[in-house]
């Protein structure tokens, strides 16, 4: 029974550690900043473990040893006192050396982190909202400035500069596989440089409690080869595709007549709201509602029909729509690739 329990415990630990690989983990670095931090974590943990073991041995040893008989408690033993003094001095000295060493390591790691984006060619402005991310690609040419939401495409292997701010409360941007976390503060701009070594999808999460749906405020960094990234940017700059079917046409009309238009923007239509995610190319995104649902026609319909059931407290209101109206709007939005 006891053996069974210990095997079960070991299995559970192994399974838990398995969870540290891949999808969103600081122990699974995919970029230079995260590698630096992961190395630092392991080195600190290892060194501190060694020190802890040594201290425990030093504490346990006198308990195990037989006390030596001393002749007279009041007789001074200068030799023994000197030995003790040397041991304590050496321990204090070693502690100081280790602490200074760790401080220096941390300092140099910070220098490495700060240098990652010094030559970044791409600047992305990430604005936190309750509970989604606004993503704006800066460019010297105004017509190439692109606004999207929740998914951040970046070229792989190149440093990217993120400018982080918020419009309501403090959020925190954290993509553990790529870098440490940094707060998004209303009225203040923080700068975070990231770099992904290889193409891939890296999940991120708001890491500062920001209200009811803090847990459902996810983001994705999608690193792609440069050519693919440029093609994506050019695609996203296009105005929205026109409705492809009669149903979608009805959907577009409804979108413009109903509350949707008060908050959302769709490029190429009169819808120009900027307080909610830009929907110009919503059909091309992988998730809905900041990583809460995967993108599909069913999920789109569910989200529009009852956002307060899926993400209670979110700022997307319940809109009064009939079944046919809902279908038409979903058909239109789904086609916005």
């Amino acid at each position: 029974m006891k053996r069974f329990a210990s095997i079960a415990f070991a299995t559970a630990i192994a399974l838990l550690l398995q969870g540290c690989a891949g999808w969103q983990s600081a122990l699974d670095p995919k970029g230079p900043a995260a590698s630096e931090l992961a190395w630092l974590i392991w080195f600190f943990t290892g060194l501190c473990a060694v020190v802890w073991v040594l201290v425990m041995i030093a504490l346990a040893a006198p308990l195990m040893m037989r006390p030596r008989d001393r002749l007279e408690p009041l007789v001074l033993d200068a030799g023994a006192d000197n030995r003790k003094l040397r041991v304590v001095t050496a321990a204090v000295g070693l502690t100081a050396v280790i602490l200074i060493g760790l401080t220096l390591l941390s300092f140099f790691a910070n220098r490495t982190l700060a240098a990652i984006g010094s030559d970044a060619a791409l600047t992305i402005r990430v604005t936190g909202h309750q509970w989604w991310w606004e993503v704006r690609y800066e460019d010297a040419t105004p017509s190439r400035i692109l606004t999207t939401a929740n998914e951040i495409h970046i070229p792989a292997g190149e440093p990217v500069r993120l400018l982080l701010t918020s419009t309501d409360v403090i959020h925190s941007f954290w993509v553990p596989s790529l870098s440490g976390k940094l707060d998004l503060i209303p009225g203040h701009m923080n700068v975070l440089d990231i770099k992904a070594d290889k193409p891939g999808v890296y999940r991120g999460q708001c890491a500062e409690f920001c209200g009811a749906q803090h847990a459902n405020m996810g983001t994705f960094i999608i690193a792609e080869p440069r050519a693919k990234f440029d093609a994506w940017w050019n695609d996203q700059l296009q105005p929205a595709a026109g409705p492809a079917s009669d149903e979608a046409k009805t959907g577009e009309d409804l979108f413009l007549k109903r509350p949707c238009v008060m908050c959302h923007r769709i490029g190429g239509t009169p819808a120009g709201g900027t307080v909610a995610p830009d929907l110009t190319h919503i059909g091309s995104r992988q998730t809905l509602a900041a990583g809460t649902l995967t993108m599909s026609r069913g999920n789109l319909a569910a989200w529009i029909a009852d956002p307060q059931g899926i993400k209670p407290g979110s700022h997307m209101p319940v809109v009064d729509l009939s079944g046919d109206e809902l279908n038409a709007i979903v058909a239109y939005l789904e086609g916005l690739k």
Partner: protein, 177 residues
């Protein structure tokens, strides 16, 4: 024994105070703003609309959550474009306790929903009905008509006027103390 019971009772009473109000994140939506009658004349006794057909006004006007949501929507829907944070500009001022079309929640709701002559557009079908009620409740708080325990407090960003819960109440507005 008796003191323990008294302490327990006190603790229960104190905990009861933690319940501030009900916050309904999923309001009843079956009734859209389009299903209510539109008044065909502005000739209403005292500029007021007839008594309401539902009791929404009462549940929205002293509710801190709805008032702060109204404040957010006031900014989001660009009411300030004409009403300038309640100070008035192209549209009338909203913080002076002077009402052209009535000061009741129902009147303000009707103003937002149906529009008014000389510029106020109709937001029927554009804003869900509950959000119109939230806006109406917030507009009333601009002139100190909402209880200060529920009216929105200071902004996180720059403030253009004292927070709504520090506005003078409607009775003393405009009078020197």
């Amino acid at each position: 024994m008796r003191s323990t019971a008294a302490m327990l009772l006190l603790a229960i009473l104190a905990l009861a105070a933690c319940q501030r109000e009900e916050r309904d994140t999923r309001p009843q939506s079956a009734l859209g703003s389009g299903e209510q009658p539109t008044p065909v004349t502005t000739l209403e006794p005292g500029g007021q609309r007839p008594s309401p057909t539902d009791n929404k006004a009462a549940s929205f006007e002293a509710n801190a959550f709805h008032l702060s949501e109204g404040k957010r929507l006031f900014g989001w829907f660009n009411c300030s474009g004409c009403h300038a944070n309640g100070g008035g500009g192209m549209g009338p001022a909203l913080m002076d306790e002077k009402w052209i079309y009535g000061s009741s929640m129902e009147s303000i709701h009707a103003t937002i929903r149906d529009g008014r002559p000389n510029g106020m557009p109709s937001f029927r079908d554009k804003i869900p009905d509950d959000q119109i009620w939230e806006l109406a409740a917030f507009v009333r708080s601009l002139s100190g008509n909402a209880p200060s325990s529920a009216a929105p407090s200071r902004n996180d960003d720059m403030m253009v006027h004292p927070s709504e819960n520090r506005m003078p109440d409607a009775a003393t507005l405009g009078k020197s103390p």
